[in-house]
């Protein structure tokens, strides 16, 4: 059961180069892959708890001040949020197809799908930026300039504080995801991955899907409280 430690060897990521990617502490590639996957899932659970703190704050304030939250939610940009939800779902599809491509040894498709996902991720951030700008212009940013003419403005300000905090941390994770996927796309273009070794692609995908899931919950909680008109 000998192991070779030659990680950091960029040129030889071809389909038959399995031993070159094995790290010294593992007995075989299977153990390495399973460890990386479990590690990624455990990390995602830590992220669940991280966002969970903010979701708890949201839950408590929404239950205690329902009128304020409903009123404040009317001021969200419904179409921006809905389009962004669709954007992220499509980007998740492309990431899943990217994993499929590397499993079938289609390097070009792999890079293509990753770049598509990347573009959609950037589109999400642009739309979010537009929303933030709109809120700023309409005095919905908590602080001295905050103005709200619906019910319970004191707690409506809490809604907006939570909105900026939750979508802000989500956007931060999107930025990290964009960085991750860019790196993976670059390495993929350089031929680092193969059907035998593509764990980084899988794990970057897991991260991306997780950030999508966070948004899947943020969307109804922030944009769809109570009932609303279409704009």
């Amino acid at each position: 059961m000998s192991a070779q430690s030659s990680h950091g060897n960029p040129a030889s990521g071809l389909a038959a180069a399995a031993p070159a990617a094995l790290q010294h502490q593992f007995a075989d590639l299977e153990q390495q892959r399973e460890s990386a996957t479990l590690g990624m899932w455990v990390f995602l659970i830590t992220e669940v708890m991280f966002f969970g703190g903010m979701f708890t704050a949201y839950l408590i304030y929404r239950v205690m001040y329902p009128a304020a939250f409903q009123g404040a939610s009317q001021h969200m940009l419904f179409w921006a949020g809905t389009v962004n939800t669709a954007v992220l779902i499509c980007s998740s599809l492309f990431v899943a197809l990217a994993v499929h491509a590397v499993q079938e040894d289609h390097r070009r498709l792999l890079v293509f799908f990753l770049l598509l996902a990347l573009l959609l991720g950037l589109a999400f951030l642009v739309i979010k930026g537009y929303e933030y700008h709109d809120h700023w212009v309409n005095h919905k940013v908590p602080g001295a300039s905050f103005q709200f003419d619906g019910p319970d403005p004191l707690h409506a300000e809490v809604f907006f504080a939570l909105y900026f905090l939750m979508t802000g941390f989500h956007a931060l994770h999107m930025v990290i995801g964009v960085g991750l996927v860019s790196t993976i796309a670059f390495l993929a273009w350089r031929g680092r991955f193969s059907p035998a070794y593509h764990t980084p692609v899988d794990n970057a995908g897991l991260y991306w899907h997780f950030v999508d899931i966070i948004w899947i919950f943020l969307y109804p909680l922030l944009y769809l409280i109570g009932h609303r008109r279409l704009w």
Binding site: Q25, S35, G39, T46, E47, G53, G143, L154, V158, L165
Partner: protein, 541 residues
């Protein structure tokens, strides 16, 4: 072959490479454990220095050594440094990192580079906290209660909170590494029920680290944002609720106390069988109780908030759950005691610390039950009773467990034996000093002396004088191991592979171990704690 200054010919993890880069860029889990050892020792003495100043101030009833504002900063930074920079990492990051791969027969952790990153994050967090100290410190208490911390305090809250935040990620990554390593890297034949109990404890600890610390992270991030950007979810003036902060804070910080005690319990589960030459009594119960503590520990946090304004019904629920969490801890104490029954007891230094742990942890744990009762808690909250309770567990328990671990595994880590006489003297000094420091505080607290005050009513002075006297003895006791352990590096006798004839895979390789731990991956076919098959404890030299 045991002259005191023998040149080691065989290659081991210490002499395989020299130079600062080989240490600062190492991915060897053993070297990383030693990096942690050096840094947490430094932080222990920083925290201890604050404790010294606190105890000096409390010698007299008047606030005459420092002003109240400075005193607030002293106890705050004492708490932050001791908890986040010493207790939380101590056993897992030093002993766990060093021995978990060895105990399961692996060559290293699952993620060696993340292990190193963990240490750098710890140092970055420590640097931020040191910066906070050097520029005045925070004065909010280690608990950072809002809205004082977010709105009104004029102290170095941001640096301290950021330091804890960064150090928290070190803790999360360590826990993640432990979990994946224990799941995926056990040697052939090492089933869960053949694992030493130290591994079960550290696994349970890792579960808490991974599930709880992220909530602390977001909470401190929110405190930081509220203080800096005034985006408020904790400030009543902006519609927020200070109790939300306390719920989120204690959701982590209560399980955190189990992060601090579970590894020590794991150590005791290793030391007691070895020095009683007997298999642990009730292996399955001890293993399951570690898991139970990890799970139940998450269900009790609001017992820190009984007088803060939570609803009475909620308080009742949490009080009841707090009683439940004591049960698995008691199970362990019974099992350790039963292990010693009809065993051959050897009162070597590690065993002295383990026995001290069992007694002092029991006192601390039982006083925990007192404060879990709503009626008593209303009376003793924010008094020295609570201070004495948690110091019995954290110092009488966790620190003694840590010292037991250091003394038990020192021969394996360094290949050297420390002078047993001095080991025993230090253990006795620490035990005496500790009790003299903290037992009077139970009485003072019950009689009404409040905590976090730099001046107190004159009738408490006698108790405080005893306590300060004890603290100076305790300080001497802590310095002794620093001296004789360092001495042993150069002048200590060679330890040999297994100076205690102990069970466990780590004792089946050289002292100090080679970089890859084992020449060949072991195949495990025996149960743990097979002391009936092992030779007896070697005679003292």
């Amino acid at each position: 072959m045991s002259t005191a200054t023998q040149i080691t010919e065989t290659e081991n993890y210490l002499n395989v490479d020299y130079g600062i880069k080989s240490w600062l860029l190492t991915t060897d889990h053993k070297r990383i454990g030693l990096l942690y050892l050096a840094s947490i020792t430094l932080f222990f003495f920083v925290g201890g220095f604050f404790a010294l100043l606190i105890r000096l101030e409390l010698l007299t009833p008047g606030g005459d050594l420092v002003q109240s504002d400075i005193y607030n900063r002293l106890f705050t930074m004492h708490g932050i440094v001791m908890i986040f920079l010493f207790l939380i990492p101590s056993i897992p990051a030093v002993i766990g990192n060093f021995f978990i791969p060895m105990m399961i027969g692996a060559r290293d952790m699952a993620f060696p580079k993340i292990n190193l990153l963990s240490w750098y994050l710890f140092m970055a967090g420590g640097a931020l906290i040191l910066y906070s100290i050097l520029t005045g410190g925070a004065d909010t208490g280690w608990t950072f209660y809002t809205p004082f911390s977010t709105e009104y305090s004029n102290s170095r809250v941001v640096a301290a909170a950021l330091g804890v935040f960064v150090a928290g990620f070190s803790s999360i990554l360590t826990g993640l590494n432990f979990i994946v390593t224990i799941h995926r890297m056990r040697a052939p034949g090492m089933t869960w029920s053949r694992m030493p109990l130290f591994l079960w404890s550290n696994y349970a600890t890792a579960v808490i680290q991974v599930l709880g610390t992220p909530v602390l992270a977001i909470t401190l991030a929110l405190v930081f944002l509220e203080r800096v950007l005034h985006i408020g979810v904790f400030n009543p003036q902006m519609g927020g609720d200070p109790l939300l902060f306390q719920h989120l804070f204690w959701f982590y910080s209560h399980p955190a106390v189990y992060i601090m005690i579970l590894p020590s319990m794991g150590v005791i589960s290793e030391v007691v069988p070895c020095f009683a030459r007997k298999r642990i009594f009730g292996y399955a119960f001890v293993a399951m109780s570690s898991v139970a503590i990890a799970v139940f520990g998450f269900l009790v946090w609001a017992h820190h908030m009984f007088v803060a304004g939570v609803s009475v019904y909620s308080a009742l629920v949490f009080s009841l759950l707090s009683y439940a969490v004591a049960v698995p801890s008691a199970v362990k104490v019974f099992n350790w005691t039963a292990t010693m029954y009809k065993g051959s007891i050897y009162l070597r230094t590690p065993m002295l610390y383990a026995l001290g742990f069992i007694g002092l942890f029991t006192i601390g744990g039982m006083t925990g039950l007192f404060v879990a009762a709503l009626g008593i808690d209303v009376h003793v909250t924010d008094t020295y009773f609570v201070v004495a309770h948690f110091h019995y567990i954290m110092v009488g328990g966790a620190v003694m467990g840590y010292l037991a671990a250091i003394h038990f595994w020192w021969p394996k880590i360094t290949g050297k034996l420390y002078p047993e006489l001095w080991g025993r003297i230090a253990a006795a000094t620490i035990f005496l000093g500790f009790n003299l420091t903290f037992f009077p505080l139970f009485i003072a607290g019950y009689l009404g002396m409040p905590r976090r005050y730099h001046a107190y009513a004159p009738e408490f002075q006698v108790l405080n004088v005893f306590s300060t006297a004890g603290a100076s003895i305790l300080g001497v006791g802590y310095i002794l191991p620093l001296l004789y352990l360092l001495w042993s590096l150069r002048y200590g006798k060679d330890a040999g592979d297994n100076p205690w004839n102990a069970a466990g895979l780590e004792w089946m390789t050289a002292s100090p171990p080679p970089t890859h731990n084992f020449a060949e991956t072991p195949v495990v076919t025996w149960d743990p704690y097979n002391y009936n098959e092992l030779p007896d404890m070697p005679e003292e030299e």
